[in-house]
Amino acid sequence: MNDRSATAVRPPARQFQEMSLFRYIAKHKMLYLLSVPGIVYFLVFKYIPMAGGVIAFQNYNIFKGITGSEWVGLEQFQRMFQYADFLRILKNTLLIAFYDLLFAFPAPIIAALLLNELRHVLYKRVVQTVIYMPHFLSWVIIGGISLAVLGIDQGLVNHFLDWLGFERLFFLGDAEYIRGVLVGAGVWRDTGWGTIIYLAAIAGINPDLYEAAEVDGANRWKQTLSITLPSMMPTIVILFLLQVGNFLDFGFERVFVFLNTLNISNGDILDTYIYRMGLLNQQFSYTTAVGMFKSVVGLLLLAVGNTISRKATGESLY
């Protein structure tokens, strides 16, 4: 009975709503018109290519197009895990991401805590101005700078080693060093920049807390452990979750500019692999499958990390 009366009442109401919605949009047509190009942009340049991801389930042929190509189900994904190449590159990607999490993630937290302890305001400003700077340099430029610092013939570090009487090290051309160089370059470029957000979190702490702690006899170290760090926790957790969500997205450019035939065995990651196999070797469906794998794993990591964090710390992205 209730159901029927509900359906009996709804149509006129909905009709009325539709009418008013139409009139509403007409009334605010300027606003809606203005938003059209942007919405079209997101649909055309973000969502259509996402839908184009279906070629991961095909044997895509560029002359036949998506509609004419043969469907092969999960074959491309199975192929992925049969390739020794793919497994090696997945291992590289995971290792580099792990080192990045281990070194590049805590670096700005520590740097922000230390900066916060500087009493000399001018000195602090100078240090900050200097360490923010590399963030604005492109990876290509950083690759060039790395020649000046780490190059075998002309690099600063190697001249120093030479001077101390040690062997020169082939930092940029030895598979053994490439992961360290990749992560290290990231630490050099973005540690300073990363402190901004933590310093803002520290600046937002209520000074009364420190005063109270001082009355209780807590020294600076204890204050840092029991006031500063806990107050930074929400920011730390959120940035941690974002980094976990991007675990497989170390970045194409920052690896590609350092790769050469000598170090590619340890430096090749999924993004550079997709570029080489996909664009240069035209394995369209296979590399789309690799790309889908990467995106879906990222999404899952973000969701899992978010759930764990909400249970454990009460902080979450959504």
């Binding site: 942007g38 973000k46 070629i55 101005t129 290509v140 430029i141 002309q154 001249h159 997709i274």
Partner: protein, 290 residues
Amino acid sequence: MRKGTRGMRIFQAFNIVFLGLIGCITIIPVVNVWAKSFSGASAILYGKVFLWPSDFTLSNYEYVIHNDTIWRAFMISVFLASAGTLINLAMTSSLAYPLSRPEYRGSRVILLLILFTIIFSAPLIPVYLWNKQLHLLDTIWVLMIPGAISAFNFFVMRSFFQSLPSELIDSGRMDGCGEARILWSIVLPLTKPVMATMGLFYAVTHWNNYTSAVYFINNRALYPLQVKVQEIISNASVAMDEGASIDISQMTPEGIKMAVVLVSALPMIIVYPFLQRYFVKGLLIGSIKS
């Protein structure tokens, strides 16, 4: 409080030295590139150059200035950083403004659609094939149109528009202004600071853009500066010969590479003092929102 004073002083001294060291590690490589770019080849190879040029020469810069392909790439990057940024600003603000207004019904769905593109992006190959179908491959447009709106910048800009006092807009309406009039004569004049910030964000991205040119540009005449620089750094002597109108047989590549790196970083280093102020502001607005 007095108890920890001695320990505190030791820590303070250590902290000053340590952060100074970090600062040195950051700045020395850049200064070294500068010094090497003005140094003779043998001085570089024998390790005589640290923070000041040795065996001073301008020949590395002569090479750069007389190289047509580097100039061409430089001008393309200038074009991208100006025209591309204008497209970015027009597209981003024309979407961010309506979606910041409470009158815009249905904004929730659209915002979610935009947010989703941050956490899930299409794989490279479908993007490539779609650009190909749109006849964007190997045109200068592929470096401007597919990246016309950055979702992150969109959210920053939207939160700026939201922070405008609604009384301003209401008073405009009371005076009988239409939506267009409100936007043109009340809102737009107030957006100068956010436009400057976002403009810098986008211009830096364009200037440093390397990846999408590698993906989507094959025509060497359309290479932006970063791609050209990378070619020279990764040491194809072929790439160096190309477009050079002076004899480089007497030069070693090391100094040239350093000069090229410095020239491509120069605009960033010059605008850096301005950037720093704006970027810090923009980053903080963005982080508060997310």
